[in-house]
Amino acid sequence: MRTISGVSLKALACAVPGQKFTLTEYAPNLVDEKSARQIENVSGFRELRISPDEMTTSDLCVPPAMMMLDDFGRENVGAVVFVSKTPDYVSPATSHILQARLGLPSSVLCLDINEGCSGFVAGLYVSSLIAGKINAPVLLCGGDTNSKLTSPNDRATRCIFGDAGFAGIVAPETGAGDTPFRFANFGERAYSIIMENSRHRITGHPRNNGCYFMDGAAVMNFALTEVPAAVRGILTESGYVVDDITLYAFHQCNRLILSAVAKKLGIPPEKSPFTAGDTGNTSSASIPLLLADVAGNADMRRVICAGFGVGLSVGVCIADFSRTKFFTTTEI
């Protein structure tokens, strides 16, 4: 476990594409009304937020980032961290694009992190480390245009992924308490969620050539073993029990996995909400979207964020978001 003190998430905002589709609208070649209903019953996804062709991940980050900067100022920002597996370009890093688009000082550190569903926790950790070390606010941006990397012929990915972006300010705060983090990585299982032949490693018989392939059974097996282990681990090391946590913000992979993991840990459904029914699985943006959705009604004092997925990787933290300012999600 790694604990960071004296730094907090000051504010968070999200954006989703205004365009959304039901499964039968979006993938008529893959599902009919009956199979769409079956998928909805299990996954919980009724609609997917889908970016238009010309919309990139930075486009989904700019409106929420502007809200952050209008509130907290641009001049003092020390770094911009961008977490995504769908950057605008292979090069340059999208954090450079954001620095210019957002009018951030030329002195900022620009840092891209290639991470998916555990990315919000990884980004929060890296941003907290930087903010604490340089004693300046860090703009944390992220999200994905997943729909651009799902094969139109692959039901397993096409019918669950949606697009979204987020931005937050991570800054030093006198009196901010401890935020424990814990990571668990399983690179040997990387092939369970992978875009084969997407770059330089070429395989002869790629699954979903260049687009996401997901081995659903392997992912379920991983989620049911490694996520409870990571959550139990951070609880034990922090001296908490399951009931001490006010909210479990699990990555919104799908309702089946989320409820199975929560049930296994003995977490009541009201403390582990699923709110992605009309957005889809938005990878690193799913925890920010959930937090923004429930912030007005939930007890945010002791929140476990648990991201898990591509890597395969798990990232968990226990954070106090009771003083964090959450903005209403923007449609763009």
Binding site: Q38, V42, A217, A218, L256, I257, K263
Partner: protein, 77 residues
Amino acid sequence: MDIKDFTAKFAAQFFETDPSEFKPETVFKELDEWSSLSLIQMIAMIDAEYRVTVDGQIINQAETIQDLFNAVCELKK
């Protein structure tokens, strides 16, 4: 663990298929409603009800509900 109970829990994962279609000897991958989603539903059901986390291969290798039941019993030993 008994096969009757297991078959009922197996059947409860389906929404459209008549429960009477589920018997120990049912070749479940031939059911209209069986899909890759059913596979992950079964992993979740077996984990929750029998406290064994099976991998997809165990389910793929089973022909009938009885085969899967036997595999879960074997893993629990």
